[in-house]
Subunit: 390 residues, 2 copies
């Protein structure tokens, strides 16, 4: 009879307990209970260094977006590798990061309800490095009233739209910047212009042209802002797909790249300046460990990592070491692999390592991320803002 000898499958609770004394844990990532979210620390650090190095000669700073990692520990690494601040998309993310010890936070989405504005002011009251975006005259006035009530002068940037998702249209932006500047309890710091849909344009040349074309009206706003004598110290935007394109935008100050630390299947396929097919500027560091559950059916494997572990984003997850595997995470609970050729004969219980389709929403499915080095878990980081979509 087969007797199970190994406890292969340490839970988050067991790993947290092992991490309690702060020393490296030493458990192999192949021994984690799955699905488990892991980041290779050497690769993460290399990505941090790459962004720093590549921006060094451009005059641009980085202000990485925490919607990607939702994790104060990673935000601290970014700040200690030279980033000037951290962005958040939601007020609850800002709260979680601030509670986790992060000070220079720029919230890129506008708060449009009284309660969210009050929460932003609660952060601002304790944290002079907190900056928030506005894009509407009404919220400018509400924010000023709230700042007055809290006894602060709150730092504000105006979000100027690129496209039609968020922000004030460029043609109305100067008036809004002037309105902010007039508020006694607000301090205008500059403007944001993030082009979300530019990040995943495939092919560097096309991405380059589109990014610079679309930002043109915003550049004119920026010039008008300067000409009007308004404080133009921040002109922020850009992401992992355009970090080396926004450097060409006159006046641009900092890049809000997020995914560069992790990478994912989506970013791999956009192509880079040196490689039209694969985006090799940064190295995939984020993976999900999964377990094979079923091997009965020819040219198929079923795993325990479905849509709740990987999301439905496309392109699909990449199975490391098995280039012929096609991964389908369309089932909520199960991953389905089909293949013509495999590098080994898989058995029930075998582990697989997957590059996720899209890092941001995948991270949001997990409570912890295991930091590994040479496949051994070194640290357990809480994804403190996991699920903080408010």
């Amino acid at each position: 009879m087969w007797i199970p000898k190994r406890v292969s499958g340490y839970t988050a609770a067991e790993m947290r307990a092992k991490a309690a004394d702060g020393s490296p844990i030493g458990v192999s990532k192949w021994e984690l209970d799955t699905p488990a979210l892991c980041v290779d620390l050497d690769k993460l650090e290399s990505n941090l260094q790459t962004l720093k190095t590549k921006l060094a000669s451009t005059g641009l700073a980085s202000r990485p977006h925490a919607k990607t990692h939702k994790c104060p520990a990673i935000a601290r690494l970014q700040l200690s590798s030279g980033s000037i601040g951290i962005c958040t998309a939601k007020i609850s993310e800002a709260e979680a990061l601030f509670a986790g010890g992060i000070q220079p936070i720029l919230m890129t989405t506008t708060n449009v309800t009284a309660s969210k504005i009050a929460r932003a002011m609660t952060i601002r009251k304790k944290n002079p490095s907190f900056i928030q975006a506005v894009d509407h005259p009404r919220t400018v006035r509400e924010l000023n009233d709230a700042a007055k009530a809290f006894g602060v002068r709150a730092d504000v940037v105006v979000d100027v739209a690129v496209g039609t998702r968020s922000g004030v249209p460029p043609e109305q932006a100067l008036a809004l910047l002037q309105l902010v500047d007039k508020q006694p309890n607000l301090k205008l710091r500059g403007m944001l212009s993030y082009d979300g849909s530019a990040q995943h344009i495939k092919g560097f040349k096309k991405r380059y042209d589109e990014t610079l074309r679309r930002i043109e009206p915003n550049v004119q706003v920026f010039e008008a802002m300067k000409k009007s004598g308004l404080n133009a110290e921040i002109f922020s935007g850009g992401g992992s797909g355009t970090y080396n394109i926004v450097t060409r935008i006159p006046g641009f100050t900092d890049v809000q790249a997020g995914s560069y630390i992790f990478m994912d299947a989506q970013y791999l396929e956009i192509g880079g300046i040196d490689n039209e097919e694969v985006f090799t500027d940064f190295t995939p560091s984020l993976t999900v460990m999964a377990t094979v559950l079923n091997t009965y059916f020819p040219n198929r494997l079923t795993t325990d990592a479905g849509a709740k572990a990987l999301t439905l984003n496309q392109p699909p997850a990449i199975v490391i070491g098995e280039p012929n595997f096609k991964y389908n995470a369309g089932s909520d609970e199960f991953g389905a692999i089909t293949y013509d050729k495999a590098n080994k004969k898989y058995e029930v219980g075998d582990r697989l390592e997957l590059i996720v389709p899209h890092c941001d929403p995948a991270v949001n499915e997990y409570d912890v991320i295991y930091g590994t080095r040479k496949d051994k878990v070194e640290t357990v980081w809480e994804i403190s803002a996991r699920g903080h979509s408010q």
Copy 2:
């Protein structure tokens, strides 16, 4: 100047505090911080009653699947409305439900690692109503060894595949059932046959035919199991899309419907026995409250509920009261609505109520679900197994 008067946006922490004394809370769901997950309790109760009533004359029981709600409070309602047990997809879900006071649990996925088997036995040791699935000779033997080590005789069902996702193929099932029956520390209780892909076949007639056609080999396994003198007390499967079809399967004992309590955009469009276009057997009770963030762009609205609040499932979210709105949750943080015609002029800060694309993975994005009655929050339920994909 506009002065904010209302605190429109109670957080989960504030709502938990209001719920602490157990009496109905009374806050309108339109006053919740968004995105917020809500269930209309009248509709939820009506769905519970509908399943009970519709199964009453068929001889079938219900054993609802908790992968849908991940919430002990809802499992308790299901048991108190006559369900004979609760299914879970993952061992961590079973642990959360058992910790939440739920006893009759059937785990429908097989545990294939030593640690997960040990965790299952830890539940079984304390909970004689715990049943678990197996689908492989190796795990049968491991389970028996573990049961012996824990000093129990563990209740087991064999998962017999419908399709190629999980379970033992029908042609090998009888041998596996016999292997289970021979293990001194396992007690064979019967078999599972869940046809995941049948649930969303559009059109009742087609769904009916396909479901009965695909299950035929499993019915033969069931007949052979009975003929061999094996314990055939459980023959379980079916879901919300086939709950009134599996009643035609000879020997079938219980239905694992999950989504029937909530409904979603996916189930609405499969059609029912009385309505070929819309599945009206159950009533949509689950919604996400969202807030309008941007109204600048013609025939567009941006909301705060994107893929992290609604998932990428299709068909898209349905905006209640606005049949002409097309909802796109393709952005992680933002929902994008396009429309030709709206029933009102929307302003920044306005709330919307959305029927989710697919209930199971949407619920998995939230920590709490607000139970409402006539739009007032009555209770705050913890989604205890949220994120429990292990």
